[in-house]
Symmetry: C2
Amino acid sequence: MIRTGGVQQMARGLCQIMGREISKGNFNTNIRQMTPRGTLQLPWSINSVRTMAPRDFSLPNSSWGSDMRRLYEHYNSQCEVETDDGEKKWGVWRRLPSYNRSLKYATGGVYLSKIIQSKARLFTRNIRAQGAGFEYVVFVNKQEQKCVCVFQAGHLLEGPPGHVHGGAIATMIDTVTGTHATYLSGPVMTANLNINYRSPISLGSTVLLTCSLDKKEGRKTFVSCQVTNTDSSKLHTEATGLFLSITMGHLLGG
Amino acid sequence: MIRTGGVQQMARGLCQIMGREISKGNFNTNIRQMTPRGTLQLPWSINSVRTMAPRDFSLPNSSWGSDMRRLYEHYNSQCEVETDDGEKKWGVWRRLPSYNRSLKYATGGVYLSKIIQSKARLFTRNIRAQGAGFEYVVFVNKQEQKCVCVFQAGHLLEGPPGHVHGGAIATMIDTVTGTHATYLSGPVMTANLNINYRSPISLGSTVLLTCSLDKKEGRKTFVSCQVTNTDSSKLHTEATGLFLSITMGHLLGG
C-alpha cells in the first residue's frame, strides 16, 4: 500500500497531460475522491522510485536568442520578489517546469518515468538538439487568470518554405491553452480547437502566446489564445480551445 | 535566365507547401501568369542542379505494422491497373510522394534542396528514426475529389500518457486537408482549422484520415476531414479546414 502523500504526488504528475504542466501546489484534490473505490491501484513498487530530478526544458539554454532570453527574464524576474525587509516571496507570475514525458514525474522528486518504463516522449520535447524544435517556457498568473508562453521555433518545424508549419503552431496552442485550462480547472482533455491563421511565422523567430480564460461552465473550460510577435504589435494566429474536465479514472484509462 | 521548363518544374516543387505534396502532372498553370513581371527571379545558378531523387518517405519501411501495410497495399494496388490487353494504366487513386523539406525538389528530378541550402526540415518528416514519429502516406482520388491518409503514430508523438498529442493530430489534419486543397486548387495557405477531438488515439496505432471537398468559393477552398480507426467504425477526430489560394509571389515572400 502506498502512502497517500505518494499518491498525491503521483496525481500531480499525472496532471501533466496533453503536454501541459501545472505548477507545484496547485493540485489540491484528494485523489481518493477521484477513483470509484477511493484508492488508486499502482502496478509498481514504491521501492523503485528515484529521486533525482529530470531535465527541466523550460530553463534557458545556449540556443535561445536575444528575444527569447529577454522575455524569459521579463517574466521570470516577476516570479519571486524581494520585500522591504529583504525577504523573498512569490510574485504574480509562476514559471512552469517542463519535461520530456507527459507522465514524467511527480512533484517532490518522485520520478515516474523510471517506474513506468516507456520509450514514449512528449511530442513538444522529443528532439534532443537544443534549438532545433520547440523551445518554449510557460508562465502563469493566477490572479489575472492569464498565461503566457515564450516560443522560439526551430528549423525542424518547417511548413511553407522558411516558415513554421501550421501543425506546429496548433501544437503550441494546444499545449499552452491546455496548460492554462489545467491550471484553472485541474485535469482536462481537449475537446475543440478553432484556429485562425492570420500571418505566417518565420522559422527561427520568437513569438508570444497569450491565453486567457473566457468562461467555465460545469465540466467545460473555454480558453482563448493569441500568438503575436514579441512586442504584441503583430497578430500571427488566434484561437479558442474548449477543454473538458476529466477524472483520474479517465487518465488511467478507466 | 532559366528556361521555362525549369521554372515550371520548380513551381511544382514550390507547391509542396505546408507539408503538402501534390502529384506530378497536376500543376499545369504557367508560372509566367503568376508573377507580376511574367518571370521568376532565381537567386541561384541552374548549373548546381542535382538530378538524384531524394528519399520518398511515403514508401513502406520496416517500422510499418500490419494495419499500415494492409491499407497501403489496398490503395496502392488501385493506383495502377492492368487492362484486358495486358497494358498498364493509371487507376482511380494516386499515391503522393513525400520528402523531408517543403521545398525539397521539383518533379522531373530537379533537386531544389541542393540549390537552396538550408538545415530546415518539414515538421512531419523531421525525425530520422523510422517509426518514431509520423509514418504516413497520402492517396488522392481526383474523380471523387477525395483524399485518404494512412497514419501510424510513433512513440515520440505522445500527449496524454499512452496517447497521441492533440497537436500531432492537428498536424496530420493540417497536412492532409492542405494537401487535398492544393491538389484541387493549386497553391494554398491554411486560414482556419476547426478540430473536434472525440476519442483519444493510442500511441503506436494506425488511423485513417479521410478528406473531402465541401465547396470552393473564389479564393476559398473548404475541406472536411475525419480521423477514424482502420475499418472506419470509430471516429477519433473530425475537422474542417479553410484554405486560401495564393500566388507564386506569396510563396516567395512577395
